[in-house]
């Protein structure tokens, strides 16, 4: 009884009614996807600058910085594309949310440590401290939408043949 009431409260908080609406969910999914595609463009075009931005965060060993600079923008692009076209929705939303959590942690630690960083969020252009704050808020908003979208996806169709394969 108590658990059920709690679950209802959580669902109300997560705006489940809104996210189960087909058109609203589509709008959110496409918007989230488009944002990731847009943010990946400048990084893909300027990989060396993006690598420099990652170095400034000072959370990764230098050996791994270039690998991240090469693959992260493409991961953003592919996830964005998957969300826009509606392919691999669950997987995309899980990876999308995980990436946002990582971004929030990276930005927050940089702010706490007082590092002079360029965010490298939507472009490789320099950004100010106040812009970094804004990016953290934006990431939280995006995280809220992606998590809600994931939690309110229609249940997976059970494909018995598929299950047998595993």
């Amino acid at each position: 009884m108590e658990r059920s009431r709690l679950s209802h409260k959580l669902k109300d908080f997560m705006l489940s009614k809104l996210f189960t609406n087909k058109y609203f969910a589509l709008l959110v999914r496409v918007t989230l996807g488009a944002l990731f595609i847009y943010s990946s463009m400048d990084k893909i075009a300027n990989i060396p600058d993006f690598a420099k931005i990652i170095v400034n965060y000072k959370i990764l060993p230098l050996e791994l910085v270039n690998l991240l600079a090469i693959f992260l923008p493409w991961l953003e692009f592919v996830l964005g594309l998957c969300l826009v076209i509606g392919k691999f929705e669950r997987a995309s939303l899980i990876l999308y949310s995980a990436m946002l959590v990582v971004f929030i942690i990276a930005l927050s630690q940089a702010l706490i440590r007082g590092l002079d960083i360029s965010c490298g969020c939507f472009s490789v252009e320099p950004s100010t401290t106040s812009e970094v704050w804004l990016r953290i808020i934006e990431d939280f908003v995006m995280l809220f939408f992606s998590v809600n979208l994931y939690l309110n996806l229609p249940p997976e169709e059970i494909n018995l043949d598929y299950e047998k394969d595993f």
Binding site: I44, N46, I47, P48, A51, K52, V55, N56, K58, L62, E63, L64, V65, N66, L67, A69, I70, F71, W74, L75, V78, L79, C82, F88, R90, A91, S92, I94, L95, R113, G114, L115, D116, I117, S118, P126, S127, T128, T129, E156, N159, Y162, E163, F166
Partner: protein, 230 residues
């Protein structure tokens, strides 16, 4: 998470990896897959520091010699004044015309040299990486320090007398740099863990500044050393 979702995640990653590799190989701005340690060359800083020490000791010797020579100067001056008087009397009209011609030649040569120098100034001069000790020596010699951090950080505390030109707003602050003489010494710094000082120093080098120093260690090292602050 179902097996299907896990499988989809693997597919996404398998798409991303070859695309990233192929794009990086075909990209003219490609980077190596393994990052390398950035080498900061302090060799120039060390030799400059030694040169500065030699200069200081030479200055001290020169000062003491000057004091000694002052004693002799009075007697020498009297002799010189007499010589000048004699030579002025000996100078004829033709000699003075020749001298005017010579001085014109010298003036033309100086003009030519200054034009060549101004051309040279426009060429890129690589900024020099320096440590705290040399930065302090330059501070003592009253050279201009430039803080490349954001105004909020600058207002919270900075090296005494430094100028704030945030690299994050470089274009808006370019006019401040354009107003500065390009042949003077400038020491650029930020906090210890940052690259904006390097970026600003190189941007200044491309603008034609010839004596730009990057103070590695920056505000944090300065504050820790207890040197003068705003």
């Amino acid at each position: 998470m179902s097996k299907k979702t896990a499988f989809e995640i693997i597919i996404i990653l398998l798409i991303v990896i070859p695309v990233g590799i192929i794009f990086n190989f075909s990209n003219p701005n490609r980077i190596s897959f393994i990052g390398e340690e950035k080498n900061i060359d302090f060799s120039q800083s060390d030799s400059l520091m030694n040169a500065l020490r030699v200069q200081d000791s030479l200055q001290r010797i020169a000062d003491s010699l000057k004091q000694l020579s002052l004693l002799r100067e009075d007697s020498l001056r009297l002799v010189q004044e007499k010589k000048i008087k004699d030579s002025l009397q000996a100078v004829s009209k033709q000699d003075s015309l020749k001298r005017v011609g010579d001085s014109l030649k010298v003036y033309k040569q100086q003009l030519k040299d200054s034009i060549e120098n101004s051309k040279k100034e426009k060429e890129f001069a690589k900024p020099v990486d320096i440590r705290l000790d040399f930065a302090k020596a330059l501070f003592d010699k009253k050279y201009q320090f430039i803080d490349a951090r954001d105004p909020a950080d600058f207002n919270a505390g900075s090296i005494k007398g430094s100028l704030n030109i945030p690299y994050h707003a470089f274009e808006q602050n370019k006019f401040k740099l354009e107003a500065l003489p390009k042949d003077k010494v400038y020491v650029i710094f930020c906090s210890s863990a940052c690259d904006v000082s390097i970026d600003l120093a190189y941007a200044m080098g491309h603008m034609g500044f010839t004596k730009v120093y990057i103070f590695h260690g920056g505000w944090d090292a300065w504050k820790e050393a207890g040197y003068p602050t705003n």
